[in-house]
């Protein structure tokens, strides 16, 4: 058996599903970090394919849905404690709704290494990330004379640029069917966030939500 580009690799398409893990600021739950996203581990699934135009060199594309969770009780309590301290409030309440849901469509060059029944695909891709929603918070601070009404960090919805690096290991089940283990790193500067109802700039103010994830998935691909 040999490693390398002896023959044209078959183009393919397939589907996958697995786990999306939040990383970096997106994963952070630090009240004092205005980029902290409180992102969680969630489900991801999608479609993937590649067209080989020269031996092992091709162009790959994917469309991926990913869910990165919502605020949990601990997050909400920590945020409430943070706002209480920042505002010097007597008490605070943070109500969280909505969750991170997005779809990314990415395209980029791919190179594949063949080794027996295995094929290793590596791809760099760029494209768009459509963010459908992010956690929305309603904040009440008690006993604060210059912020007497609730204020809001609204759910974000936007289409932004995204960049990805992917490595996939395909195992040949039959002539045209592969079991595929896939790891995909995604970075996006993320959507802008609207804040409403503030009468002061005290405390945590989120204006941008950078998204960083690594998705680990398992799927099937079918040679064309």
């Amino acid at each position: 058996m040999t490693v390398g580009a002896r023959a044209q690799v078959k183009s393919y398409f397939g589907f996958f599903g697995g786990v999306s893990n939040a990383l970096s600021d997106f994963k952070s739950t630090d009240y004092n970090n205005n980029k902290a996203g409180f992102g969680k581990r969630g489900l991801t699934y999608g479609l993937d394919g590649a067209y080989y135009f020269y031996k092992n060199l091709g162009i790959g594309a994917s469309i991926t849905y990913q869910d990165n969770g919502e605020l949990n009780q601990t997050d909400a309590n920590n945020l409430a404690a943070g706002y209480t301290n920042s505002f010097g409030a007597d008490n605070s309440a943070v109500t969280g709704v909505n969750r991170y849901q997005s779809v990314n469509i990415l395209l980029g060059p791919q190179y594949s290494f063949s080794y027996g029944k295995f094929i290793l695909d590596v791809r760099a891709a760029a494209g768009i990330v459509k963010v459908y929603s992010s956690p929305e918070t309603t904040i009440y601070v008690g006993g604060v004379t210059n912020q007497t009404t609730d204020f809001y960090q609204k759910s974000a919805s936007a289409t932004v640029l995204g960049y990805s690096g992917t490595a996939a290991l395909r195992y040949k089940l039959s002539d045209n069917v592969f079991l595929t283990l896939r790891g995909a790193y995604l970075y996006s500067s993320g959507p802008s966030v609207t804040n409403q109802g503030r009468t002061t700039d005290i405390g945590r103010i989120v204006t941008k939500l950078p998204i960083t994830t690594i998705n680990t998935t398992l799927g099937l691909t079918f040679g064309l």
Partner: protein, 180 residues
């Protein structure tokens, strides 16, 4: 091929389960300030505090006075000890409001003749509360304790209002000691 169908089914089932999950979560937090109370069900932590222990050699008395003000509300608590000694500490114990040597005022800010002043909002009568001093560090000059009381007021139409000040606490609250 059956394994492939099973895998596909499991993936699809997971997708639908996940897409249905949307929760609302509410987090709350209360101040951790060293001087706070619950006034009529709402946490109140003063941002302006005066805390003193004063010894008078002439009358051989010692007076602990704690005053907090915030958001148009003010609490003033005074405990007067007779036959006291000239030290920066204070005797631990539970001091029931008697309106004589243990006096508590619950004041609110009102417009009086064009000026905003704090005036008593009702009366904290004898037997309507207590102050408990649980720890005093006379070296660091910090005092710790709890309090609760109610203030009763009557409007012109004879309507009675009771303001409940419950769960009050002062924790390692710095004080100044004066001897004169």
């Amino acid at each position: 091929m059956n394994k492939l169908r099973l895998l596909t089914f499991l993936l699809l089932a997971a997708f639908f389960i996940q897409s249905c999950k949307k929760d609302t979560v509410v987090g709350t937090a209360f101040t951790t300030k060293p001087f706070q109370a619950n006034i009529n069900g709402t946490t109140w932590a003063p941002d302006t505090i005066s805390n003193t222990i004063t010894y008078s050699a002439a009358s051989q008395s010692k007076v602990f006075t704690l005053m907090g003000t915030k958001a148009q509300k003010q609490i003033i608590m005074t405990i007067k000890l007779s036959n006291a000694i000239n030290t920066p500490g204070f005797i631990l114990g539970t001091y029931d409001v008697d309106a004589t040597s243990v006096i508590v005022n619950y004041n609110t800010q009102v417009n009086s003749g064009g000026q905003y002043v704090f005036l008593p909002h009702g009366t904290v009568s004898a037997g309507s509360g207590s102050i408990k001093v649980t720890a005093v560090d006379s070296v660091k000059k910090q005092i710790t304790g709890t309090f609760n009381f109610y203030s009763r007021s009557m409007a012109a139409d004879s309507t009675i209002t009771v303001d409940n000040i419950l769960g009050g606490e002062f924790t390692n609250l710095p004080y100044t000691f004066t001897s004169n």
